[in-house]
């Protein structure tokens, strides 16, 4: 029984069968990659996992509890954090404040009216946030506007913000899309470090095979809304069906 269990999920958009009978089991503390050509249903699957879309059939269980029909913030409070394709951070806030918010969210839950304490006086929160920035090598930028950072640093910050909540499952949606090679490698290193240091399950959706093969322990190949194969990276590399799916797309 994995930490995340997707059973018989299907989703139609009008005439398009975006997902057809998807079964997926993500083992606890593993790095599981979902790959597939464009239009394979990767994003639809991800949106089902985080509660943005409700599938037509099937179930999604996280630690044995259904996530379907829950609000995104409820799913987050269950222990699932999401990193977006384009970094979603609080651009108008300082880097330090960006890091403080998830720590507040972890401590206080979905809502707490903290109206007359000074946020700078919350020493504990500030210290945790600064330690987290230190570990991400972002400490020097802590008083900068988050929007002014480079793409790579925004990504680091976003991953850090997700980690600050100590999620059980981290979902990454093409974390290196549109990044320069150096930033991509830095992100891979960061994710490797996270995997080694923490008890965390990572599910990653990715186009870039270099990223997938450097990180993943299990890979599911999705094609036309259904899982084609699921195996270790070594076996996936030489799998004829995978070659066909990808070559078929490129040809």
């Amino acid at each position: 029984m994995g930490i995340l269990e997707v059973k018989n999920v299907s989703k139609r958009f009008g005439g398009l069968q975006a997902l057809g009978d998807v079964n997926l089991s993500v083992a606890e503390n593993s790095v599981h990659a979902i790959i597939g050509p464009n239009g394979a249903g990767k994003s639809t699957l991800l949106n089902v996992l985080i509660g943005k879309l409700i599938p037509d059939t099937g179930s999604v269980l996280f630690e044995g509890q259904s996530v379907l029909g829950r609000k995104p913030y409820e799913i987050n409070q269950m222990g699932i954090s999401r990193v977006f394709q384009t970094p979603e951070i609080f651009g108008d806030l300082s880097v330090l404040e960006n890091m403080m918010i998830p720590i507040f969210a972890k401590r206080d839950g979905v809502f707490r009216m903290h109206a007359f304490e000074n946020s700078a006086d919350e020493r504990e929160i500030v210290e945790q946030a600064e330690a987290m920035l230190e570990s991400l090598n972002l400490a020097d930028a802590r008083h900068d506007h988050a929007a002014a950072m480079s793409r790579g640093n925004k990504r680091r910050l976003e991953i850090g913000m997700c980690l600050a909540q100590e999620p059980k499952l981290l979902l990454l949606d093409e974390p290196t899309a549109g990044m320069a090679r150096a930033d991509t490698n830095a992100t891979i290193d960061l994710l490797k470090q996270i995997k080694d240091e923490r008890d965390i399950t990572i599910t990653i959706i990715e186009h870039d095979m270099h990223v997938v093969f450097s990180l993943a322990e299990r890979i599911t190949v999705l094609a036309q809304g259904t899982p084609l194969v699921e195996d270790t990276p070594e076996n996936i590399k030489g799998h004829p069906k995978v070659r066909e799916a990808y070559l078929g797309e490129h040809a």
Binding site: F104, H114, A115, E117, N118
Partner: protein
Amino acid sequence: MFGLNKKDGLLFLFVIAITLLAPFLLNPFPTDSAMAQFNAGYPDLLQRFAIFGIFAIGFNILFGLTGYLSFGHAAFLGVGSYAAVWMFKLFSYNVLPAIVFAVIMAALFSVLIGYISLRRSGIYFSILTLAFAQMSFALAYSVLSNPKFNLTNGETGLQVYDTDPQIFHREGLPDLPHLFGLSVRATYELNLGGWSFTFNLGYYICAVIMLIVFYLAIRLFRSPFGMMLRAIKSNNTRMTYTGLNAKPYTLAAFVISGMYAGLAGGLLAAMDPLAGAERMFWTASGEVVLMTILGGAGTLIGPVLGAGLIKYMENIVSKINDNVLHQWFSFLPDGFEDVMVTLIHPFVGKGWNLTLGVIFMLVVIFLPGGLVEGGQRIARLFTGRRGRAAKRKSTQSTPAE
């Protein structure tokens, strides 16, 4: 200092000083001089500065922090006024219970309107609040004023009559709003040389309340709650995917700003025990938006400055008439004098709105951060050299580290 950091503490002290000394500062011209018409230090206007300052501070908590642009805040102002006048009618002319009741009623109204309007964001939220405010206006103007059930007294406006119960009213208490027996109209006139300064109890009640709520607003801006509100404005998606529910945060901000508006409405009634439906009209809602943007949305002091500027123009520029203009340009040859008067005429007197519009356009185009940004730019001109020198020094020291 008062739990504020150094910068905010200084700002607060500065505002305290300005507010308490306003009767001096706003009366810089001797009473007999030609410039005396620019004096703004008379009680009626000073009260308006403080009251609309409160209104704008509250509006800024919603608009400046969360970015939700309400076009219906005047509804809460009106509710506050009606609530206060009802307290006068039923119980006594003491302003304190009236103000408390005004805030409570505005809070209830804003929970209702906020809960519904906040189901949408952006322009739809603005339109919903506008619709609610116009509904309130219509209710107050006609629906709730019929012989069977007269809550608002329609066109005439709600006021206190001799036949009202006023159960706590006693002989010897002023027949006007008062604070434990001290009439809000109580004034002390100080004549110094050619100058005359008026100190009015009503103004000081408004001023002290404004200082209290200004202080609360600073605390709120710097609190974790304020940070969450700014986070909602910055990126609602990330907010949701960080496990935070934006709805109660925005609703709390909406209700707080509604209570500020109710407080302002209550004070308006306390200074002059009369409440009319026009206080809820959409132009009144628009005015507070102008004040906030003109002064600088999201800044602490901006809305107060914006409120001050608009109320000053409404009361001072509108008093300049053609006779005054002829006096000013009397040194010019006759023809030129008439030309100048004709040119300026549309911008003064009843045309003060035109001047306001021009100023508003200039500010929005050249100073998107409002008057506060203007102030910062001027401050930078003066400290610029020192700032650059300090910077150079710090860059020189960097390699040594």
